[in-house]
Assembly symmetry: C2
Homo-oligomer: 432 residues x 2
Amino acid sequence: MPCSDLNTISAVDFQQRVAAGDDEPAALIDACFARIADREEDVRAWQHLQEKTECLNGLNASHGAALSGIPIGVKDNFDTQDMPTTWGTSYLRSERSPWDAAAITLLRRAGATIVGKTVSTELAYFTPGKTRNPLDYRRTPGGSSSGSAAAVAAGMVPLALGTQTAGSIIRPASFCGVIGFKPTFNTVPLAGVKGFSPSLDTVGWFARSVDDIALAFAVLTASPPPKIEGLNLYGLRVGVRALPLDGPLTVDTVSVMGATRRMLLKAGAQVFELDLPANFDALVDVQKCVMAYEAARTLAFEYDTYRDQMGPKLVAIIEQGLAVAPEDYRAAIQATAWHRREIAKRFTFDLDVILAPSVNGEAPLGHDVTGDPLYCRAWTLLGLPCISLPIGKGIHGMPIGMQFIGAEGADAKLLSIAKAVMLTTQDGSDIE
Amino acid sequence: MPCSDLNTISAVDFQQRVAAGDDEPAALIDACFARIADREEDVRAWQHLQEKTECLNGLNASHGAALSGIPIGVKDNFDTQDMPTTWGTSYLRSERSPWDAAAITLLRRAGATIVGKTVSTELAYFTPGKTRNPLDYRRTPGGSSSGSAAAVAAGMVPLALGTQTAGSIIRPASFCGVIGFKPTFNTVPLAGVKGFSPSLDTVGWFARSVDDIALAFAVLTASPPPKIEGLNLYGLRVGVRALPLDGPLTVDTVSVMGATRRMLLKAGAQVFELDLPANFDALVDVQKCVMAYEAARTLAFEYDTYRDQMGPKLVAIIEQGLAVAPEDYRAAIQATAWHRREIAKRFTFDLDVILAPSVNGEAPLGHDVTGDPLYCRAWTLLGLPCISLPIGKGIHGMPIGMQFIGAEGADAKLLSIAKAVMLTTQDGSDIE
């Protein structure tokens, strides 16, 4: 297995090396294709791959741009004008969309090279695709952004786009040992991304460094780069909270959470149990209600046309959603608005960041499930920015991520905290 | 010009006649195509029309369904699997989408016949299409849902779908003298509708009776029919408010508002000036900020690819949006949330409905503009359900609609009020 540090380097570091004359602009794309050639047969991250020569065309034109020379994978539920899209289904297929999804355009505007479409579960729900966990092929990479997480973990690309409606970024990031980031709801344009639940659907992405997450954040929001350097963990107010609180966490998740708390305390952070109104736990069910109700309507065409070809879990959530009374949905939307205000007050007065499990335990064995997004549902419902950091290991040596959750719109602050946490863990604290 | 009452009848009345054996199930579709043949050359409401024989196929299969035998037009920014879509542009075109928009599927599930795609302005913004006002060909029908409003007004279809981001349902409804309804934000699925500003975009529709608006509401939300019968205007708390308050309303709009107030008072309603926090007026600019910021990102592909072919107003809003600082956008989103809560409190304690202008004055002469959505912007931003009722006339005899605005999620109550208002105006009060 050929191994180059170009398969582990961050996009930001690579560009600095190119600027210093230490690497050719095409080197990262070369390394990406070499790694794909080597590992794709096992990992199965890609639904469609562009030709390498096509990817290298236009590299000169993008010279100096923010993402010039950076190969990126995009989940196969983003429309592409130059590649087919299947939305993770056997029954839908578009050879060429009339447009690229807006997020892809923003990446291309910054000079990025979209190397292909990564495997999605069926319509970004629970029916798994063909992808396997690059760290242990017997295990799921998680879903629904399976191929994007696996491609980054396997060293195929430094950055890949996905989407999250329940836990489809944070969960596969944890299972595959990469960083996964879901920004504040409605921060990155969803145009050209197939919807599932419009109150929840959010574009997110995977990377190997927080710097790369931040670089993509600037590009994907068409905004100036966020300043994420130099945050000191000393005095940082960290509220710890699994949501739901009474879920049965695995021993290794509890252990990694404990180690993360100790690391934060050692760095001078204030770490405390985050007390929340008792009905915060109900947000898990509120999220399920909103997701089912909206999916049943959003996927009306697919249900009426392809029900017989759909996975049973997808049929089940649509039928559940049709059975939800409109007044219960309306109550769920109102409850969500209330809880958003409550958590915003906490962030205003006595809280900088929330620490929570990304998912419960290591990636499960087998390829018929993608794991449970339980510990992501409430944070996604609240629209808060979330990041999963690969800072622990489970009993089988597989990665266990920790989820950090910021205030609505405070994405840059969350990334600053994430960067400080990563620096601290790399500087010594061994979290296992 | 052949005239049949089938070109003015409501869908609900037609179905009752079919049920009673007084009309053939195909009669309305027949009458629709006859009227289109007669008037389309002048009105130019349609971007694409299906074949009549195709529309009549399948009519038997839908027998007894809620919209069986009802011909419906759909704005050309909804994806269709069996018709081309142009989004009102010369540069985008899809012969067949991989799906029907979810709203179209819900209509078809209820047995409706989609007869064609109606003209949209360019990407549902301000560059007019070919449609003319059916009541005076020298005038605009309004925009952006130009063809849908004109098709209903011209007696071509009893129902037509559109979308509203600023005032694209309420304004053309007023200009064309039909009922236009924009439900609560995120009530009808937007899947398969091209986005412009995701915090604002809303599916809405046009009809000739409130009963038909309510029937479509049930179908498009996959919900039971709302009960809208028998509301008494006596004691109804009606807050009157143009927003912005200081806009220079035309004499005829002021006159129709005054007549509407008198009609409501005569029916026993409590009618009062709605006092709101002073910064409510700023919501007009907040709406513009949100719309520009989001459009600049949502339409990234179109801007990068087709800028040279775009209308200058569309280019201008995208470039304005790129110049908005992300923190100003975030502040706009937060201000919107605050004002939504404030107006919700009013509706909880001392307000049933708001009366406001739909638009200022009659449809302007000429086809190079579509009118100004000024008096719709704030209500759309707040996500409230709005209905324009064709209850007045201007100085040139053209229609002037009045806008009634309900509480978030109280769409059924708003439709009940609208029905009572229409019955009262038809029962005698002459509003001119």
